[in-house]
Amino acid sequence: MTTSIISIQDVSKIYANGTIGLSHINLDIAAGEFVVIVGLSGAGKSTLLRTINRMHSISSGDILINGQSIRHYQGQKLRVLRRNIGMIFQNFNLVEHSTVQRNVLSGRIGYYSTWRSILNFFSKADKQKAVQALQRVNLAEKLYTRADQLSGGQQQRVAIARALMQNPQIILADEPIASLDPLTTTAVMNDLKRLNQELGITVLVNLHSVPIAQKFADRIVGLRAGKLVYDKPIEQVQADDFQQIYESTPASSEVRA
């Protein structure tokens, strides 16, 4: 029916306390796109990303990944789905007491049986793969360093290397640069853009910064109060489009491109 890698169909998410997280979202993302999602804090950006790898379940609607509904995935099927989707977090979420190598290898454990992984039987090929993943983010020399010895930007790039170990088709990045300074911000965004262009990985990034969104995105999607209020390819994006996304009065008109 569709060629899109991710198809979000009329998805709503209502939290247990009655808060509306997402409201009737429709969004189709083609393989290889670099999509940036913008919006205020609490607009539902994180929730939307997390419904794609089912870290959050949805209340209604459906989500298709590669044409398959993932809404009711459980157990092994759910783990295989997540294995194919890398995730990057605002706080990097590395195990700080472990070495960079172990952190990167941990991105691969979805491919291992429980016993082989906890006994640390990683194959030579995967250890080599970890080195290559680190080389891709220019951090190979930190292989045996403990993660907490690295700067924030370096930790985020290790997290990208960890996601790469999954051989992901999709990478979800939730505010990946919110804790970084401007210089490392560019390095991390460049890394994500390179993975998108060189490996063809579909990338979805949540951002606060409109200028950075405009610089890196193929397409910008705007959320406000759980609703999709903006969706345009980068060529059509106008500078003053963003007022409507960031406007604080909810009564203002909602435009869908």
């Binding site: 979420n93 590395l94 007491h97």
Partner: protein, 262 residues
Amino acid sequence: MNQLPTQSWTAKWHLKTIIIVLILCGLLIKSAQICEINGSALSQNFSQFFDLLKKMSHPQWSYGEIVLQPIIETIKMAIIGTTLGAICALPLCIFAARNIITNRFITSSIRFILNIIRTIPDLMLAAVFVAIVGIGPLAGIFTLAVFSFGMIAKLFYEAIETIDNGPLEALEAAGANKVQIIVFAVLPQVMNNFISYFLYTLEINVRASTVLGYLGAGGIGVYLQRSLDSYNYQQTAIIILAILVVVLIIDGLSNYLREKLL
């Protein structure tokens, strides 16, 4: 718009804190009265303390040789007992940690069992095990194992609940299963705490085993009891010094390992 908010006078004068402190002081005084705590009884016969100290101030150094064997036995008992307890506590503490197991029924029932185990007095445990396996260090080992199990499990699950949950989320999002998440994201974060809690329990067990000796559960306690019963305080002094040395060694080891691993 740019006005300072007004503070109620109760908040301004920290009324709540003051009232709580006053209530606590009142409770303390009242409970002292109920328990008939009498300061003069302590001060009247305080000379007894110096008497004892004077007797102990001339340790019978030659007794050290005789004490060496039982103190080593005590250490062995403590190490085996603590290790057994820790090994059993490790899997259980994971099921008691609310950030790992979200099912409140499971965590609560395991915590309840642990509470029961910690309630059983170690002297009673020792008596039971002496009755089961007979007089000797084996009874002491089992006692210490059960005692350490209850204590370590609690310390461990509380340590697990303080960890950063971010890495757990990251691994879950990467398709890891529960066991893999525990091994790759939980254990590395709590290993230091586990080691220091293990050594702390070991230290407590060395001291506890002196009491267990009274019940015939082996170790240095038998000798301590003997020296106290015969008012041979020069020997008591040696035993206390020997225990002090062991406690100091464990403390040093704990500090060293924590520095190495942190």
